[in-house]
Amino acid sequence: MGVTTLAPSSADDPLAYRPVALVDLLDRVLATGVVISGDITLAIADIDLVRISLRALVASVGALAPPELPAPPSAPASGGAAGNLGAAG
C-alpha cells in the first residue's frame, strides 16, 4: 500500500496512479469533510468518530507493530551501568 517516495527525479509524473494508503485516507475522511449532521449519526459527535476509529486502528496494528528500538545485540554483562541506562531507555 505504498506511496512512492518522492526523489527529485521521480517527480516527473505526479499524476501517475498510486494506491491510496488507508491511513492517509482516514486522515481525510474522518478528520475532515463537510460536517452535515445526518439524522442517524447526529448522536455520534465528530470527535467521537475520530477517536473510535483511531482506537480501532491502533488496537489492530498494535500487536503487529515492530518494537520501537532494536534490542541490544547482546545483553551487557556489567549490571551497574545497565541500571543507569534504564531511565534513558
Binding site: 518522492l6 473510535i52 486502528l57 551501568a81
Partner: protein
C-alpha cells in the same frame, strides 16, 4: 446518545429500513457517472436534487448503518476500511468531473427528504464552497525524519568494557535521534511554509502514528495543500526542490485527492499542531 427501543443487536433490528448515506454535494451529476459506481450496499449511487444542488447518496441498510450498528462497525477495522474505500471511490469519481463537497465518513440520513432539506437549508454555504473548490485539487505532502550521522568516534577510545561502550553508544544514538527530530521538525515547518505559499490553501494534519504509517522513522509533516489544477506541475517541482534543500527531511507526495481537507471554512490559519514526535 438517545438509546431508544432497539436493543436487539442484529436479529430484532428493523431490517426493512434503509438510511441514506451522503457521499458529497455537487452542482450537477452526470447520470452516466452515477450508474457505473457502486455505493455502500453495492447498488448504484444516485442523485437527490434540491435547491439547484445535487446530493450524491447510496442506500445504507439500517441493520448495518443505523446508529447502534455504526458505533459497533466503526470499531471494526475491516468494516472501516471497506466503508472508507467505498466512500472514497465515489467521492473521487465525482471530483474528476467537477467540484465536489465531500461529506465526512458515515453521514447517514433517514430518508431522501431529510437530505433535500439539508441542501436547501445550507445552499448558500455549499454553493460558496463549490465555487472555492472549482478547478482545484488537494495534494498531500508528508515529511519523515532522515536519521542523521550517529556520532561514533568515542566508542573505542574509552575503557570500561564492551557493555559500557554499548551503553555510551546507545545514549549517543538517542541524543542524536532527538536532535535529528528537532532539526527535521524545523525543516518541516519551513517546507510547509513554502508549500502553503504556493498553494491556494493549506493545513497540517496530525502526524501519523508510526504504527499506522509503517514508516521507518517519525513523521514530522502531514500537510494538505489545495492547488490550482493548472499549477500542479509547479507544485510537484517545488516538492522536489524542497527535498533537495532539506536532506534532513524525506518528503512524500500523494494525490490528487478530492478536497477533503478544505471543505470546512478556513477559520483563520489553523493552529499548527506542535506535537512531540513519539
Amino acid at each position: 446518545m438517545s438509546t431508544t427501543a432497539g436493543t436487539a443487536p442484529v436479529a430484532g433490528a428493523p431490517t426493512a429500513g434503509s438510511g441514506v448515506w451522503l457521499h458529497g454535494v455537487v452542482v450537477d451529476a452526470d447520470p452516466a457517472t452515477l450508474t457505473g459506481i457502486a455505493g455502500m450496499d453495492g447498488s448504484p449511487i444516485r442523485a437527490i436534487r434540491a435547491a439547484g444542488l445535487t446530493a450524491v447518496v447510496s442506500a445504507a441498510p439500517l441493520a448495518e448503518y443505523g446508529e447502534e450498528a455504526l458505533r459497533r462497525n466503526l470499531e471494526d477495522l475491516a468494516w472501516l476500511e471497506r466503508a472508507a474505500r467505498t466512500h472514497h471511490t465515489v467521492v473521487d469519481a465525482l471530483s474528476r468531473s467537477g467540484a465536489v463537497v465531500p461529506a465526512r465518513l458515515a453521514t447517514v440520513h433517514r430518508d431522501d427528504g431529510r437530505v433535500a432539506r439539508v441542501l436547501t437549508e445550507r445552499r448558500a454555504e455549499l454553493v460558496a464552497t463549490l465555487a472555492r473548490l472549482t478547478d482545484r485539487e488537494e495534494w498531500g505532502v508528508k515529511g519523515y525524519v532522515v536519521p542523521g550521522a550517529v556520532p561514533r568516534g568515542a566508542e573505542a577510545s574509552v575503557g570500561g568494557g564492551a557493555g559500557a561502550a554499548y551503553l555510551r553508544r546507545r545514549r549517543a544514538q538517542l541524543t542524536a535521534r532527538e536532535e535529528g527530530q528537532r532539526i527535521a521538525a524545523a525543516a518541516a515547518a519551513a517546507a510547509h511554509t513554502a508549500l502553503a505559499g504556493y498553494a491556494v490553501a493549506a493545513r497540517r494534519h496530525a502526524p501519523q502514528d508510526r504504527r499506522l504509517s509503517g514508516a521507518a522513522t517519525a513523521m514530522v509533516l502531514n500537510g494538505a495543500y489545495l492547488v490550482e489544477r493548472a499549477a500542479v506541475a509547479g507544485f510537484s517541482a517545488l516538492v522536489g526542490a524542497l527535498a533537495d534543500r532539506h536532506p534532513e527531511l524525506r518528503l512524500e507526495l500523494t494525490g490528487p485527492w478530492p478536497p477533503y481537507s478544505f471543505v470546512t471554512e478556513p477559520a483563520g490559519e489553523p493552529a499548527h499542531q506542535v506535537r512531540e514526535p513519539a
